[in-house]
């Protein structure tokens, strides 16, 4: 039988471990939020989307520091509520790309909307880059007053590899070596790139998705 004192020590240790883990989780866990505008503005302005702590994980930091860009793809949809089936009414999309500039020793954050890049700045500290990513963005889609009830849904896909890198590694894994001799890439680096990308996969550089939605609202409903 385990003595009471020992049991207490074990319980305390477990409690401390749990508390520490919980605190770390609360600080660093990525959070996506979407907030619908107030009742009086609901037909004039769109929801506000915030993606917090998306770059603060250790793994993400390692990947960025290794030269792998992070791509955050935002999709915001306006759905109307139906009896059996909901209807997708409006959609907007944009991207935020974060990459480490080795020459400048800075993280560059760029928002891309409709193929138009917009710089959110270059930052020496990753926390500042994460703050730029977390700037609230008002999605340019609005509800309309025709008796329907609506809700917004935000989806964020985070990739730690660019699409071209993903394509390349998929071809590489299939046994195709042509990316090395295409375009302006250095053929000598194909093995290194492949191994590096495989290592990234092992580190967990896969696509990750977050979703969040607002409560249902009706334009003109001031009880919200």
């Amino acid at each position: 039988m385990v003595p009471h004192a020992l049991r207490r020590v074990v319980l305390l240790a477990l409690l401390l471990l749990g508390t520490t883990g919980g605190a770390a989780l609360a600080q660093g866990r990525p959070v996506l939020s979407i907030t619908a505008p107030g009742a009086e503005d609901v037909t004039r302005t769109g929801p506000v989307v915030v993606a917090s702590h998306m770059l603060t994980g250790r793994k993400m930091q390692e990947l960025l520091a290794s030269g792998f860009p992070a791509r955050l793809h935002f999709t915001v949809e306006l759905w109307s509520v139906g009896g059996w089936v909901n209807d997708l009414e409006r959609v907007t999309e944009w991207d935020v790309v974060v990459r480490w500039l080795n020459v400048e020793h800075a993280y560059e954050v760029t928002q891309v909307t409709g193929n138009q890049p917009f710089s959110l700045g270059k930052f020496a500290q990753l926390n500042d880059a994460a703050a730029a990513v977390a700037r609230p963005v008002r999605a340019p889609i609005v509800a309309f007053a025709d008796g329907k009830r609506f809700y917004y849904q935000a989806t964020l896909t985070v990739e730690t590899l660019s699409l071209s890198d993903l394509d390349e590694v998929e071809r590489w894994l299939r046994g195709e070596f042509q990316p090395a001799v295409r375009g302006q890439r250095n053929p000598g680096t194909v093995l290194g790139r492949g191994l590096k990308t495989l290592a990234t996969r092992l580190l967990g550089g896969e696509k990750r998705e977050y979703t969040e939605r607002t409560p249902v609202f009706a334009p003109g409903d001031s009880r919200r």
Binding site: R29, F123, P140, S164, G183, R208, R213
Partner: protein, 568 residues
């Protein structure tokens, strides 16, 4: 003077009139704070900074300061207004500001600092452009009702569509009991011009299935060239010459999935024949969403006996015989329409997939005699065959979708179809409640139309019809791992998945004098004769596990199916 200028002047006047007052922070309506910030940035005497601004404790900046992107750290004094656009502001204890306007950023340390004037703040990001040093805020699309409608519904031609050429050495991305792993070697040219593009893929093929013989069983080729006029909309003209091994029914399962099943499980879900010849084609295309192709070909068809490639499991078992095919020369005139509106990566509204083909074949073929012990002789053949695969993907809610598929095809006119053009249903890709090419519990055999009585169990139906429906619901699966602790070495999982409920109904039949599996050319079999199944499963994206049960044949046991793709 514009409204923006007036607002800016008003904001600055406020800061001048109340220098000693401890101002209250206000989250301004977006346009007001942004307009004030833009006007202040563009004012002549404003000091402009791009990036980091550090004002040390002993430093004083006279006048107004505007910062883009930041961050801004103030421990000293700014006598005028600090404007931070898309920047966070951190105020140290003792910092002193004339006024503060923050757009698209946060304010920290406000309680220990002194702001003599007003504090305006808009949390949301401000999109702008710099023109001749002046900052111009982008129009706010939220207030333009038609903005969302301008979102392109059709996928654009990839912007990185640029010229390249290379020497390819790759697998053909499949594996089968006739070829093993085909290796493809050869040059590729992709030349993009202002008026279109030119492509050439010239591949030699080496088949690795043993026993290796250095003849046409082992070596082949596939050379395709196309000249395309117009990039978004246009016309393409091309030609192809080939000596390849082709699947009889490629519509059921794609190359990679059937290849992996053959390599890993020793189960090859396709039959094959040899094609040797050439064709020319004209293609009308609309971006990457749709194209209409007319082709004329002249080729020789032959049986392709199975060989003995390795497999991971059951490698000591014999492969299923690759059925005998009709052999001879054939001229083919084909029209094919392909439409795919399923969208890019997000498939927002769902979409349509349509693949429709009509083929007219004429030539001389030696028909496979089946179980008859006769010597086949060449006979003239002329047939018309149609095929339609139509799918609708519909999102019912953000995390739910209903997908429907209708496939039909087969004989339309002329002589009976060659073996290479016959059809079947049944198996994991079409009716998963029924085993692939094992129909002894199904009487009459409406899945292969008697093919299971022949060596290799070929597809023998003149026509097939298949309905598939599935309801999918997305959900998140997390166990032990989560977003903060998702290292590769941790046990557990953390990913999105979908549960799937599905139902299928389908059958095949022959055309001729009415019988158990034969109907007149203008008749359709009664729906009650269709074989049906229902099932459920989990789709993890890269693979899915499903349980399927035949409902129209009670004796058929439940099947467990693993798919490497979505069901359709």
């Amino acid at each position: 003077m514009t409204r923006r200028h007036l607002l800016a002047v008003a904001a600055m006047a406020l800061s001048a009139l109340a220098p000693a007052a401890r101002a209250q922070q206000r989250d301004e309506p977006a346009r007001d704070a942004a307009a004030a910030a833009v006007a202040a940035y563009n004012a002549e005497r404003t000091m402009r900074v791009m990036g980091v601004l550090d004002v040390a404790a002993e430093r004083t900046i006279e006048g107004d300061v505007a910062v883009l992107n930041g961050p801004v750290r103030v421990a000293g004094r700014i006598t005028g207004t600090l404007v931070a656009i898309n920047a966070d502001v951190r105020l140290a204890p003792g910092a002193s500001l004339g006024a503060l306007i923050v757009v698209g950023g946060t304010i920290a340390g406000r309680e220990g600092a002194t702001v003599h004037g007003e504090v305006l703040r808009q949390p949301e990001l401000l999109r702008y452009r710099l023109a001749d040093g002046r900052l111009v805020a982008d129009a706010e699309p939220a207030y333009e009702e038609a903005w969302w409608k301008r979102r392109p519904r059709r996928r654009a031609v990839p912007p990185d569509d640029r010229s390249w050429r290379d020497l390819t050495f790759t697998s053909a991305h499949t594996y089968n009991r006739v070829e093993g792993l085909p290796i493809v070697v050869g040059p590729r040219i992709h030349q993009v011009t202002n008026w279109g593009r030119f492509t050439l893929d010239a591949f030699g093929i080496m088949r690795t299935a043993g026993p290796v013989r250095w003849n046409r069983e082992t070596l082949g080729h596939d050379v395709t060239s196309e000249l395309q006029l117009g990039r978004k909309l246009g016309l393409g003209v091309g030609g192809r010459t080939f000596d390849i091994v082709e699947a009889v029914e490629p519509w059921q399962m794609d190359d990679a999935e059937s290849g992996l099943a053959a390599f890993a499980l020793h189960r090859d879900f396709r039959d094959y024949y040899r094609r040797h010849g050439g064709q020319g084609f004209v293609k009308l295309h609309a971006g990457v969403d749709a194209d209409l192709t007319f082709s004329l070909g002249d080729e020789r068809w032959q049986s392709a006996p199975e060989r003995d490639p390795i497999s991971l499991l059951r490698s000591d078992e014999p492969w299923r015989l690759n059925p005998y095919m009709d052999e001879g020369t054939i001229h083919l005139a084909t029209t094919r329409l392909r439409v795919d509106t399923r969208g890019g990566e997000s498939a927002l509204w769902g979409g349509w997939y349509l693949d429709a083909q009509i083929e007219r074949g004429t030539g001389r073929l030696e028909r496979d005699p089946g179980l008859l012990t006769v010597i086949p002789f060449p006979e003239d053949v002329a047939y018309t065959r149609g095929f339609l695969d139509a799918r609708r993907y519909t999102r019912l809610a953000p995390d739910a979708s209903l997908n429907l598929r209708f496939v039909t095809g087969g004989w339309m006119a002329g002589d009976r179809l060659p073996m290479e053009r016959r059809l079947s249903v049944g198996g994991p890709a079409t009716l998963p409640g029924y085993d692939f090419r094992r129909t002894w519990r199904v009487d009459p055999d409406v899945l292969t139309c008697g093919g299971t009585n022949l060596p290799g169990a070929p597809a023998l139906c003149d026509r097939v019809m298949l309905f598939q429906a599935e309801f999918r619901g997305d959900f998140h699966m997390g166990w032990v791992r989560n977003d903060a602790r998702d290292d590769w070495w941790r046990p557990g999982f953390n990913r999105h998945a979908a549960w799937v409920l599905f139902a299928d109904a389908g059958r095949g039949w022959n055309v001729g004098a009415p019988g158990a599996t034969t109907y007149a050319k203008d008749d359709l079999p009664p729906l009650a004769t269709f074989r049906t199944d229902v099932g459920a499963g989990l789709d993890f994206g890269s693979f899915g596990v499903y349980l399927a049960k035949a409902t129209s044949t009670a004796r058929e046991p439940m099947n467990v199916i693993v798919r490497l793709r979505h069901r359709f």
